[in-house]
């Protein structure tokens, strides 16, 4: 069984699994409530940090991280997926399963780096940012959906993938598309009990 022939079939079944879990085994929440809740958090953070948007970005990121490290267990409990062998399959799982199950969107995977260790997700629609219009002073600095970076970073770290995750562009800032970059730093080693090495 060669790797190349198994890939499309695997990707297809991931898509199917994601759709099935979203349809049958995911409790839904009202979209407006969800969007407004997140919006209230971001705008409150902007007030609390006196419009220091760099701080707001960091705060959103760390909130996302705290979500991600727990969300991964939820994700694995639903999907029972094993660890991915490479970043290509990781990207498929993130896009077709994770985003599908939790946000009901399937971002496009593009812009692979030459070494296949970094890729971009294009978010055609972003349920976090419906209705949002950034104020003028936030346009250049605030990454409104930065919580997503934190979530991905936390979740991937828990499956031993040390990654950097950041936004490259956002339609809210007037960019043509919303692009999120994921870059693998290294695969963390599983711990072994003392005395085994």
């Amino acid at each position: 069984m060669s790797n190349s022939s198994s890939m499309p079939a695997q990707a297809k079944s991931l898509k199917h699994a994601g759709e099935d879990i979203w349809k049958n085994r995911t409790e839904k929440v009202n979209a407006e409530l969800f969007t407004l809740t997140y919006g209230a958090i971001v705008s409150q953070l902007c007030t609390d940090y006196e419009r220091n948007f760099q701080k707001v970005n960091e705060q959103l990121y760390s909130m996302g991280y705290n979500i991600g490290v727990r969300l991964i267990e939820d994700f694995l409990a639903r999907t029972a997926l094993p660890r991915c062998e490479n970043m290509v399959s990781t990207s498929e799982v993130v896009s077709k399963c994770a985003f599908k199950i939790f946000l009901n969107i399937t971002p496009q995977i593009t812009n692979w780096s030459h070494e296949k260790d970094a890729f971009s997700l294009i978010l055609v629609e972003n349920p976090l940012s419906d209705f949002v219009e950034l104020p003028m002073d936030a346009m250049k600095q605030l990454w409104y959906s930065n919580i997503l970076c934190g979530v991905l970073r936390g979740a991937l770290e828990m499956v031993q993938l040390d990654c950097d995750v950041w936004f490259i562009s956002d339609v809210l800032r007037g960019d043509p598309q919303t692009e999120l970059r994921i870059k693998l730093n290294k695969v963390l080693k599983d711990e072994i009990p003392i005395g085994e090495d």
Partner: protein, 176 residues
Amino acid sequence: MPQYFAIIGKRDNPVYEAEFTAQQGQQGQVQQGFPQNLKELNPFILHASLDIIEDLQWKTNPNTQSGSNSGGGGGFLRSRNVANVDNCYLCKVDHFYGLAVTAYLTYGGMKFVMIHGNMNNGDVQIDDNSVRAFYQEVHELYIKTLMNPFYKINDPITSPAFDSRVRALARKYLNK
């Protein structure tokens, strides 16, 4: 004919204002705006009619004053039994030397008011159906603005997107 449109907040504070003129930018047409002296007067005319709107708010049949009873039945304006937004539109509520004032009241108490100017000193004819459609679509835009987490209720609306959409609606419904 030109119009002056404003959204008035719950504390009678202006939230948004705009002036629409006929067929902007078309060749051979003079910009049909309000005369300068009237321009300055417009906000005062609008504010004068706010009292009437607040009175009408609790009247059983708000449409009787304007004379054109357009389907609005009995019952309080804010009746719980009427689920449609039709009774938000109050038709013509006031007039001022040949200018007509129409109004629309959202369920949250925001007042949408508009002065309809006249071109040739004749009486202003108001096409209730298109004016109502205009108000209803602006109402939808307003709700979307309200959903923006960075917008606080009763703050002035500064979004250029909102402004251009409202102007597009004005071209569509008022100054065909």
